[in-house]
Subunit: 417 residues, 2 copies
C-alpha cells in the first residue's frame, strides 16, 4: 500500500485526471474479496485470495503472458473460461504452479471448481492465477482449505487482504481505490497488483493485476479499455526484460453502480482516462519496486518507424549498462548511443539525438558540450527521463525501467535454493 | 596473458588440435609490433600500439561491429582501407574516439596517415582501432607521439607489448602464439585480444582481436577463415548482450613462412582448425574476464528452426536471472524455461527439455526428479553447461556467457563519472 501521506498518483509521469478522486480503500459496488494464510508461503503470510463479483451480469476482460512457457493456471483460464463473463478470481502466491505438467493442470482445475462452488458461479466464470516458485507441485489441499476460509471472510473492503495475499517479496503493496465522475454518474474503480521484483530463490517475477469497476459496460468495451490500458502501462515497463510464465491482468465490471458506459461516449472516454492513470501508476510502482530498485527511468524514442522506435526503447531500457548508470546516478549517455546502435544493426552511421532530463547531450551522433555538474545533479532524482531521437518522424514510444543495483544481485544470486 | 603454468587451451569446450603446439610468445615471420604509453589512459599505462606486416604481398581480412553507432575509426577503416590488403594496424586504448563527429574522423585519419608514413605503407593499408571512453575528443597529438615511439620499438616479439597497449581494465591479458603443422610445412599463428569487460566509468566494452599468420593465403581464403572462425567464437559470446561501437577483428597473413595454403586443401583445413581453436579460446577468455565474472556458461540449443534456436540461446545467455543463478551456483532451471518461453512468444504450451551438466531437470516442460545435492555441486564448477531442446530437429547453436555478480554492478554503477 502507498505509504501514509503519499498520494497514490506519485509519479511525475502520471497525472490524476481532474474527475478522479482517491478513496482510502474498498472495492466498488458488487465486489467482495478476501485474503488468507493457507500455508503455501513458508513465511506463513497470506497466500490465497478470492475475488467475487456478485451481479450475475458481470462483464470482464483479460490479458495473459505471451510466453511460450505458460503455467497451468494460465492455460486453464485461457482454455476453460468465458473470458468476457468472469465473475471470480481464485489466486495463490508462493507457488507458480508452473512446469508442473498434467498434475499442475489438475490442481488449477480443482482451484477453479472449489472457487466456483464457494462463489456460487459456473466453473467457466472463475479465473485462476498463481505466482511463486516454478517446478514445484502446488498443494491442492492447502489451496482448497484457503479458498474455503477466504469464502467465509469475503467483504466489500477485502481489497487490502487480497493485495496482501498476492504479494510475494514486493517491498510494498500496490493497490488503489478511486471514485470517478462520469457524465452519466459516479462509479468506483479499484485495482490490486503485485510483482516485477524477483521474488525469492527459484521464484520468477510475475505480474498480477485485478481491476474492479462498478460501471456497466459491454464486454467489447471492457476488452477495449483493458487492452488499451495494459498496452500503455504493464506492456511499457521492464525490470530486467524477463517475461514471466504467469502474468495475468483481469478487469471485472459489476455494473452495480447502475451507471452505463456506452461505446464511444464521454463516459467511456472519462473512464478510460481514469483506468489509464490507475494502471500506469501501478505499472510505475512495479518498476519502482523491482529488485530493490532505487530509480525509475523513462525512455521516450521518436523516429520514423514503429518497429525501430520500439527496438531502440527496449534496447535502452533493458541495457544493463544503462540500468547500472541509472543506479549509480551517472549521466552516461555513451551507453545510450551504444544501446541505440545495437538495436539498429546495419544502419551506421546513425545520426542519433539524446537528451537526459531536458539537457541535450548528443546531436546527430556527436557529443554536445553541457554542464556536467548540473546534469549529474538532475539524474540523482528518483525518476529520470531520457529522450532519444532517430531519423524520421511519425513514430514514438516509451518504456519505463528499473535501475540495476546490488540488491538485484543479492536477491537473485546470493539466496540460492 | 595466461597465468604461468596454465596452458592457453584451458577450457573444456576447446580442444587444442593435435597439429598445434603452444609457443611461449612471439609473432609469426614477417611481423613486428610494439606498445607504448602515450598518456591517453589516465593511469599512464601503455595505450598506443602498432602492428606491421613487412612483406608487401600481405593478405588480410577484417570484421567489424554491426552497431548503427560506429566509431570514426571503424567508419574510416571500412571506407578508406583495402581490407584484403592491410599491412598495419594503428590502435589506441583509453578513448574509443566514438560520438566525436567530423573531428573524430579527422583524428582517425591522422592516426592512419601517421602510421602509414612510419610503416612505409599506403594509408589504405592501415587499419585504425580505438577503445575506451565514448564522446570525449581523442588527443591526436598524443597518439601521433605514441605511434612514433612505437615505430621505433617495433620488434618480432612485440606481441606482448601490443597486448598490453590494447588492454583497458581486462583482468588478464589475452594472447597466444602457436606453431601449426600443415601438410605443406610449419606455420605460425598468433593473436592478441582485449575486452568484453566493462572498462571504466563511461567506458564501453570493445572487443579487439588481431590475428597474425605467416602462411601465404589468397585474400578469399583469409576472408573465409576469419569469417568462419569469428562466427564460431566472438559471435557466440555474450557478457551482457551489449554490442559495442568499436568491435574489430583483423587477420593479417604475411606469407613469410613460404608455406602456401591453397583453397579447399588439407592445409586450409588444418589451419582453419588451429585458428578456430585459437579464436574460440580467446573468446572464452573474454567471457571469463567479463565484469569480474566467476563462471562461464555454455548453452546449447537444439530444435527445428535456426531462428528459434538462436533466439532461445540468446534469451538464456542474456537473461539476468540465468546469469545471477550461474553466479550464485544455483541450478535454477525454472529461470531457463522462463527465458525459453519468453524467446518464443505465442508458442505455448511448449514442450521444452532442459539438462544442466548432463542432468535431466525438465522434460516436455515438466519438472524431472533429480538429485539436487549432486546438481548443486556440479554447477559450482568454473564452466557450466546447459542443453535446451525445443521441438523439431536439424538446427543447433551455442552461446557462451558470463555470469552476473556484484563486480558488474560495482564496475558499472559505483564508479561514476
Amino acid at each position: 500500500m502507498t505509504p501514509p501521506g503519499v498520494p497514490f498518483f506519485s509519479s511525475r509521469w502520471v497525472e490524476c485526471p481532474p474527475h478522479v478522486r482517491e478513496l482510502p480503500g474498498g472495492l466498488p459496488a458488487g465486489f467482495r474479496a478476501a485474503g488468507v494464510a493457507a500455508g503455501i508461503k513458508p513465511s506463513g503470510r497470506p497466500d490465497v485470495g478470492l475475488l467475487v463479483s456478485d451481479p450475475p451480469d458481470t462483464v470482464s476482460a483479460a490479458r495473459f503472458t505471451r510466453s511460450a512457457t505458460q503455467a497451468p493456471p494460465v492455460l486453464l483460464t485461457r482454455e476453460r473460461c468465458t473470458l468476457e463473463g468472469l465473475r471470480a478470481v481464485a489466486v495463490n502466491a508462493g507457488n507458480a504452479n508452473c512446469a508442473t505438467g498434467p498434475e499442475g493442470f489438475e490442481t488449477a482445475a480443482r482451484m477453479q471448481a472449489v472457487a466456483a462452488r464457494l462463489a456460487g458461479v459456473d466453473g467457466g466464470q472463475v479465473a485462476v492465477c498463481s505466482t511463486g516458485v516454478i517446478g514445484v507441485p502446488l498443494d491442492g489441499d492447502a489451496v482448497e482449505r484457503g479458498l474455503e476460509q477466504a469464502a467465509g471472510a469475503l467483504s466489500a473492503d477485502g481489497d487490502e487482504g487480497l493485495t496482501r495475499a498476492i504479494r510475494t517479496t514486493d517491498a510494498f503493496e500496490k493497490q488503489a481505490s478511486l471514485e470517478v465522475e462520469l457524465p452519466s454518474g459516479t462509479v468506483r474503480l479499484s485495482a490490486q497488483a503485485k510483482g516485477a521484483g524477483m521474488i525469492a530463490p527459484a521464484f520468477s517475477a510475475t505480474l498480477l493485476c485485478f481491476v474492479e469497476c462498478d460501471a456497466a459496460l459491454a464486454p467489447e468495451t471492457a476488452d477495449l479499455l483493458l487492452g488499451v490500458c495494459v498496452k500503455r502501462s504493464f506492456d511499457r515497463i521492464t525490470v530486467d526484460g524477463q517475461l514471466s510464465t504467469n502474468d495475468t491482468a483481469i478487469l471485472l465490471c459489476s455494473g452495480a453502480s447502475g451507471v452505463h458506459v456506452a461505446p464511444d461516449s464521454q463516459d467511456e472516454l472519462r473512464l478510460g482516462e481514469a483506468m489509464d492513470a490507475l494502471l500506469r501508476q501501478l505499472a510505475l510502482m512495479i518498476a519502482r519496486d523491482g529488485e530493490g530498485a532505487e530509480r525509475v527511468g523513462r525512455v521516450v524514442v521518436r523516429g520514423g518507424h514503429e518497429a525501430a522506435v520500439e527496438a531502440v526503447a527496449r534496447a535502452v531500457a533493458d541495457s544493463p549498462l544503462v540500468k547500472t548508470a541509472l543506479h549509480g546516478a551517472d549521466p552516461n549517455w555513451g551507453r545510450i548511443v551504444q544501446a541505440v546502435g545495437a538495436a539498429l544493426p546495419g544502419a551506421a552511421p546513425l545520426p542519433v539525438d539524446v537528451d537526459i532530463e531536458g539537457v541535450a547531450v548528443c546531436r546527430a551522433g556527436v557529443a554536445v558540450p553541457h554542464d556536467h555538474q548540473d546534469l549529474a545533479r538532475r539524474v540523482r532524482a528518483s525518476e529520470v527521463e531520457y529522450v532519444v531521437t532517430v531519423p524520421g518522424d511519425g513514430a514514438e514510444t516509451e518504456v519505463f525501467f528499473s535501475d540495476l543495483g546490488h540488491e538485484y544481485i543479492r536477491i537473485n544470486a546470493e539466496y540460492t535454493t
